[in-house]
């Protein structure tokens, strides 16, 4: 152990090892957490951070090693025991039931299942008390389904505090927040520290790690590779430790934009579930330009993505492709007019898990290129798939492998290949690198930039401001379905974009009454 070892750890992980089949997700990981300390657990996607925390929280059983909380070893595989010992976890994907109210969500599981009453009055009073103590505003009677992402996260944190958690584990808590919301979260966390809690903060964002933590633990390929006191390290060092080898991101050169290839003029669409639709959006996607769309998720990105993908039509306003108005509009027509689409969710929308790589490769073009009079040409399809495996560096056993067995990065390469293979005029890239490791991220970004250089109009939708700022030639922010003006590269700081993301700066809608 390093010299920084605390005297009385509230939490101690010893030699945690976890294997999934051939993959070793955690390899003899050990660390201590002291009272009032914030440890940042840093690592790439797939480094084993979430697995480690799931073991700590009892969701998984470790193959070896122990978890000690306040000196007592937790029984493995028992989330209940972790909760009772004072460990609270705020998951990356909120574990809230949308049809229940805030107080119902908070009290779920906190009472004995044989109790005859939920005691709503007591519960709500306690929630109000907690929300005052930690400066988190929530309405206990609101339905969770109607809350914003930031509010939902507060509910998650309150859930832990309601159970008297002494140790908070936050898994990528800022991934979906605006910079301002992130600041508010950090204020809450500092308050929690002041009141005696200890925190494990999982992230891959270096500036946040530097801002909030007192100690940083770096995981790589399931192993603890470094431990640093925050004040004694730097972003550069951490980046190198996280990735291991020197990885250079592709250089994005400035572009020379051409004519608008896809234009929306005052387009309004229906909302999707609880997320808003587009509200009189006007935008030009120009040839040879990457247009970045920043914004907190659930602000109309899905509506825009569905519109361009061919899944929906505008309620009002006009969409033009290469100057031609779009009338009838389906996914197949979108593909036919040169729109390549990388969907947000590669598992649910982008691929069919139990189809082979070949079948997934031709999913969009089987009718036009791999069939005649309704008869499939499987030989040609297979040859095409083999070509794509080679061209796009898809690591796999062969074209007959079921796609479910591929890693996220290789799955995304297949989708990317499917899109770029057709030489699209317009590329919609919705969260193209979410959940990918750095190598795959750079690959995808490089290919998108390449498509731009060949003259395609690229629309990049992302919740990650760093990604937007790095790649985009021009940036728009979307909030509540409204679109900000276009900001050229280099004119905006993250904080400025954050203001727009939080909904400031938009003109009041003209039709407001």
């Amino acid at each position: 152990m390093t010299g920084a070892e605390p005297a009385h750890p509230v939490l101690r992980l010893s030699d945690i090892t976890k294997r999934f089949g051939a993959l070793t997700a955690n390899d003899r990981v050990s660390f201590d957490l002291a009272r009032g300390e914030v440890i940042a657990l840093l690592g790439e996607n797939g480094a084993g951070k979430t697995t480690l925390m799931n073991i700590l929280f009892g969701q998984y059983t470790a193959d070896a090693g122990t978890v000690e909380v306040f000196g007592r070893i937790l029984p493995p595989g028992a989330p209940r025991a972790a909760l009772d010992a004072g460990v609270g976890m705020v998951h990356q994907h909120f574990t809230l039931a949308g049809n229940l109210t805030v107080w119902e969500n908070i009290v779920l599981g906190a009472q004995s299942l044989t109790a005859l009453s939920l005691k709503p009055r007591e519960v709500k009073a306690r929630i109000r008390d907690l929300s005052q103590r930690f400066h988190m505003k929530v309405d206990p009677d609101a339905r969770v389904g109607r809350l914003t992402v930031g509010e939902r996260q507060r509910v998650e944190i309150l859930k832990a505090l309601y159970r008297d958690a002494k140790i908070l584990i936050l898994d990528e808590p800022t991934a979906v927040l605006t910079p301002q919301e992130t600041d508010a979260l950090f204020a809450t966390l500092r308050e929690a520290i002041a009141q005696g809690l200890s925190i494990v903060f999982i992230s891959h964002k270096l500036h946040e790690v530097m801002a909030i933590s007192s100690r940083v633990i770096v995981l790589r390929h399931g192993r603890l590779v470094a431990e640093r006191r925050t004040e004694q390290t730097s972003r550069e060092e951490l980046a190198a430790l996280m990735v291991g080898a020197e990885v250079t991101a592709p250089e994005i050169r400035p572009s020379t934009p051409g004519a608008p290839l896809l234009s929306l003029a005052a387009v309004t669409t229906a909302g999707i579930g609880s997320a808003p639709g587009l509200d009189a959006v006007t935008i030009d996607l120009r040839a040879g330009q990457i247009t970045g769309l920043a914004g907190v998720s659930g602000n109309g990105q899905a509506a825009l993505s569905n519109l361009i993908s061919g899944l929906t039509l505008p309620l009002s306003g006009e969409m033009r492709i290469a100057g031609q108005p779009v009338g009838d509009w389906t996914p197949r027509m979108a593909i036919g007019r040169g729109v390549g689409r990388i969907p947000e969710d590669r598992h649910r929308t982008g691929t069919i898990a139990d189809f082979t790589l070949t079948e997934n490769a031709i999913l969009e073009t089987y009718a036009s290129q791999f069939a005649r009079h309704g008869w499939m040409d499987w030989q040609a399809a297979r040859a095409h798939a083999e070509e794509m495996i080679a061209t796009y560096d898809i690591r796999c056993p062969g074209p007959d492998v079921r796609i479910r067995l591929l890693s996220g990065g290789n799955m995304q390469k297949l989708i990317l290949g499917r899109v770029l293979e057709t030489g699209p005029q317009i590329v919609l890239a919705n969260q193209p690198v979410r959940g990918l490791d750095i190598g795959a991220v750079n690959y995808v970004h490089g290919r998108l930039a390449e498509a731009r250089d060949k003259g395609a109009a690229v629309l990049l939708i992302s919740e990650d401001l760093d990604e937007i700022l790095r790649l985009s030639d021009v940036i728009h922010v979307i909030s509540e379905g409204r679109l900000s003006p276009a900001f050229p590269r280099g004119t905006m700081r993250p904080e400025d974009l954050g203001q727009w993301m939080a909904g400031h700066g938009f003109e009041e809608p003209a039709h407001a009454s």
């Binding site: 009892g58 969701q59 989330p79 909760l83 039931a97 949308g98 009290v107």
Partner: protein, 314 residues
């Protein structure tokens, strides 16, 4: 008889409530399963099994309530099988449900033949008798309709109240509702989604079986092979119609039963002489389909209905 006279007659409403009773039991059962996230298509077969089990238990010498308990237990057991296959293994709830209906039905018929070989007509039992609640049953129209029913009918109404209270006012009910909406919320609290779902399916199946037993122990006094006759499927439609809420589902069941009682009476009017009787018999099924179509867009379906939960996966 005039059509309007039918609608205000006590005997008509008494019949409606009687027809509604088995539907109420089974609908509550299905509702509990679905609120926890499991579509239980075993309902039809479980009702058949319950109808037989309760009846044969009483025929073998158990008291009537003992028969109800036996039916409930048989329903629980069948629900347990359904639960194990559909919850931890996450098998298609459609296929498991149809399989359970086939299994429960054939097991019932087999047992019937084994227990009662060589009988041409099934024996009768001393079924539940109407119990007039003092004073209340003397209220005009409403009294005889509501308060001169068999104890099992009263139990059906009590069940609706209990189901409603448990679902909305207790920690257990909260956990069930959360399991049907976002099971990871339940798992994150250290509760077992598997246990909650299997438990809900078992209890719900118990209610379904009692619904079946109502037919042999209260509505009639004997067991026939095609006795349940699609009532289970109708209850699934009633759950949708009731928007997964006990009160609304109860209302749906009574409305539906009133319509059924009405068409039976309609057959005896001059209209019945012109229109083939099959048209009347079709009505309940057509009505169910109509209810599904009308309600399909409005109701708030439990978000995790028919979605298996696999720990550690999203």
């Amino acid at each position: 008889m005039d059509l309007f006279d039918i609608l205000i007659s006590a005997s008509f409403w008494a019949a409606a409530i009687r027809i509604a009773s088995p539907l109420i039991f089974a609908t509550m059962g299905e509702l509990v399963c679905e609120r926890a996230g499991v579509l239980n298509l075993g309902i039809e077969g479980i009702m058949v099994a319950g109808a037989f089990a309760g009846w044969i238990a009483v025929w073998a010498g158990l008291p009537l309530w003992g028969g109800v308990a036996v039916a409930f237990a048989v329903g629980m057991a069948l629900g347990g099988v359904h639960g194990i296959l559909s919850v931890p293994f996450g098998l298609s709830q459609h296929v498991v449900g149809i399989g359970m209906t086939l299994l429960a039905t054939s097991l019932t018929f087999y047992t019937y033949r084994v227990v009662l070989p060589e009988v041409s007509s099934p024996p009768k039992i001393e079924a539940f008798q109407a119990f007039e609640i003092p004073f209340l049953s003397k209220i005009p129209v409403l009294g005889p309709a509501l308060f001169a029913q068999t104890p099992l009918t009263y139990a059906a109404f009590v069940l609706v109240i209990v189901t409603s209270l448990v679902l909305y006012r207790t920690p257990l009910g909260l956990a069930v509702r959360a399991a049907g909406e976002n099971p990871s919320a339940v798992a994150a609290q250290g509760l077992s989604v598997t246990a909650i779902r299997i438990g809900a399916v078992m209890v719900g199946s118990g209610f379904m079986a009692v619904g079946g037993a109502f037919l042999t122990m209260s509505a009639f006094d004997s067991f026939f092979f095609d006795m349940v006759n699609g009532r289970g499927w109708i209850c699934i439609a009633l759950v949708v119609f009731g928007a997964w809420k006990p009160g609304k589902a109860l209302l749906g069941a009574i409305l539906f039963a009133a319509f059924d009682a009405f068409q039976i009476r309609l057959q005896q009017t001059p209209i019945g002489a012109v229109v083939p009787y099959q048209v009347f018999l079709m009505m309940p099924y057509l009505l169910s389909i109509l209810a599904l179509v009308v309600m399909s867009r409005r109701a708030e379906v439990p978000a995790a209905l028919m979605v298996p939960f696999n720990k550690g996966e999203r």
